[in-house]
């Protein structure tokens, strides 16, 4: 097992003429961490990864691996492994030759190469496929070859740019499990780019949410979900009911009374400045009778959607304010009827108060 390498971004930014692909970014990733970069298309994820690999020279700032500055170092001396979205397998080489490529570049003895290639093939369960050409493999198999090729020389740092992007949903979930297993076995630091929040949350120790070329927030997936620092993060991870605050009056220590643009006034925990209030659909209780919570509103069910394991109600509580409410359900759960008059409620601590 390799010891993972730490990675540090120190004020890294990238300009293409007038286009800003990446705003100055500073971030430290610990040894052996599985770190995911999550964000919409064009948010700068690949750019950030490219600065680590060496394909993209930063306009400003430095990239450090294990504490040493690699910004001026060519990619082939950075000792990193990378898995590309379309795998980038060499089409004229067999699977075994593909995996042997980095070992040949390192001028290892022939016997050693053969031994390591066999072991890598075993690891990705492709023992019998060494003699095939990449074009003769399925997408998932090609993916595993790419992984084996990037890991066969035990690099302490692995970069993956949407490695599962080209696979279908079931295969993707299978591969997620395999990648986690792989991370546990190999122990390398993994920087993982994806735009699928479930994938990131399922696999990463920590993740960074990116938007418009900047990291909005970084941390363990649960923390980001529970304590988003701004509305982008709140909305990007899971669902959120967002209410715009027009006035916030402190009523007690750490408690605010909020009046919102949409109408309802509510109690929330937090401190000014208050720009918006977010309530997660699963934090809202729903019943026909009034609910014993600090915030309780009367409303009418305007839409019902059944999702696996839960029901989502849309409840209109004011003229232009409809809340999304999610309730865990099984076969015995009674479903409230459409148009029913109901109460919805939540405690002050369930509402997040964010500056904007």
């Amino acid at each position: 097992m390799t010891r993972g390498a730490s990675v540090e971004f120190a004020g890294v930014s990238k300009q293409y003429g007038l286009v800003t692909a990446l705003r100055p970014t500073s971030l430290v990733i610990a040894q052996g961490e599985f770190f995911a970069f999550l964000g919409p298309s064009g948010s700068g994820k690949s750019t950030l990864l490219g600065t680590v690999a060496g394909f993209i020279p930063p306009s400003e700032g430095r990239v450090l691996i294990e504490g040493s500055d690699v910004t001026a170092m060519p990619p082939h001396r950075r000792n990193i492994g990378m898995v590309f979205q379309n795998y980038a397998l060499f089409p004229y080489l067999t699977v075994a030759q593909n995996i042997a490529f980095p070992l040949r570049m390192r001028r290892l003895p022939r016997g050693e190469i053969a031994r390591r290639v066999d072991r890598a093939l075993e690891m990705v369960r492709l023992g019998d496929f060494g003699g095939r050409m990449p074009a003769q493999l399925s997408g998932g198999q090609q993916q595993r070859v790419a992984l084996a090729r990037a890991a066969v020389y035990d690099p302490p740092l692995l970069l993956m740019d949407e490695p599962l992007g080209a696979l279908d949903k079931t295969l993707r979930e299978e591969m997620q499990e395999e990648l986690r297993q792989f991370h546990r076995v190999v122990g390398a630091t993994i920087l993982y780019v994806t735009h699928d929040q479930q994938e990131a949350a399922a696999m990463a120790d920590r993740m960074a949410i990116m938007n418009h070329g900047a990291v909005e927030q970084a941390g363990p997936p649960r923390d980001l979900y529970a304590r988003p620092e701004n509305s982008f993060v709140a909305r990007f991870l899971g669902e959120a009911n967002v209410l715009r605050v027009v006035a916030a009056d402190p009523v007690a220590a750490g408690r605010l009374h909020l009046r919102t643009e949409e109408g309802p006034a509510l109690l929330a925990c937090g401190s000014p400045p208050a720009g918006i209030a977010c309530i997660r659909p699963e934090d809202i209780a729903i019943a026909e009778a009034p609910i014993e919570r600090e915030n309780c509103f009367r409303g009418r069910i305007v839409d019902i959607v059944h999702v696996a394991g839960s029901i989502r109600y849309s409840v209109a509580i004011a003229a232009n304010c409809t809340l999304s409410v999610r309730v865990r359900s099984d076969r015995r759960t009674a479903v409230l009827p459409m148009d029913a008059a109901v109460h919805v409620g939540w405690d002050a601590q369930d509402a997040l108060v964010l500056p904007s």
């Binding site: 082939h76 990193i80 990378m82 379309n86 060499f90 570049m105 074009a135 020389y153």
Partner: protein
């Protein structure tokens, strides 16, 4: 095979289309057919159709050592031109497609420009340059002149090959530990080998057929086949020329078939 055409054109249109195509094909191939037939005549004067078939003009071409020497010169010059153009065309294509600078695009236009210019302009510019360099009339002079006009074809072929595959292959090689040279040697080269070979054949064909630069740059020792052909044409029109022309046609066709076969093979890759 022309199902859609049938629907659009109707019966009269179809007959018209067939006549047009037949006339076109006749126009395209008739002159070449005439040459080939002429070469097998047994007469001294050019008459058509020839009365009896014979190989005497081939024998006469074979006996004149000047033709043989010119052919050998053309092959040598063509080969050298192909090698030089492949080297220069590949270097420029790599720089233009992978260099990542904006000013490289105008440079690319400069590289292909000789293809579009009348050769006579290049020839009267190169002639004094070769004199200055003391290369006038040498093999090098002809090869250099031909390389100037053949490199654009290699450049476009190789640039197309370089744009024809995912650039990530090279990036992958870099992360896997290959430096610039080894990335070229083990990734770029295998990926563009077909394009290189086709470009080389094109370059050879350009040189093999080129007249104007050969007129200005070649000397008596280095005269090429087209130049000798030209000289003979200016004097008299004997069937020997038809025999030589037929041989040249056959050779060119062979080159073309080779290039085409390569292109096909490349298209069906990767193998089983």
């Amino acid at each position: 095979m022309m199902g859609r055409a049938d629907a659009v054109l109707g019966v009269a249109g179809r007959i018209g289309a067939a006549v047009l195509l037949a006339a076109f094909v006749l126009f395209l191939v008739a002159p070449v057919v005439v040459i080939v037939l002429m070469s097998f005549t047994d007469q001294l004067y050019l008459t058509f159709p020839p009365t009896r078939f014979a190989l005497r003009w081939y024998a006469s071409a074979w006996e004149q050592s000047r033709w043989l020497r010119a052919a050998w010169n053309s092959i040598q010059i063509g080969t050298a031109t192909a090698l030089a153009s492949v080297a220069l065309g590949t270097l420029s294509a790599l720089a233009v497609t992978r260099g990542g600078r904006r000013w490289l695009l105008p440079f690319g236009s400069l590289v292909v420009a000789p293809m579009m210019l009348p050769h006579v302009i290049i020839a009267i510019g190169l002639y004094p340059t070769m004199l200055d360099l003391g290369l006038s009339g040498s093999y090098a002079a002809v090869v250099i002149g031909h390389t100037v006009v053949a490199t654009p074809l290699v450049f476009t072929t190789v640039a197309a090959a370089l744009r024809g595959y995912d650039h990530a292959l090279e990036l992958a090689a870099r992360t896997l530990g290959a430096n610039g040279w080894r990335t070229f040697r083990f990734v770029t080269l295998p990926m563009i080998a077909g394009g290189l070979l086709i470009g080389g054949i094109f370059a050879f064909a350009v040189s093999f057929d080129e007249l104007m630069l050969a007129l200005f740059l070649a000397g008596p020792r280095t005269e090429t086949l087209p130049r000798l052909l030209w000289e003979h044409l200016a004097q008299s029109v004997t069937p020997t020329i038809a025999a030589v022309a037929t041989l040249i046609l056959a050779f060119t066709l062979l080159l073309l078939v080779a290039a085409e076969t390569l292109r096909r093979r490349k298209a069906v890759e990767p193998p089983p």
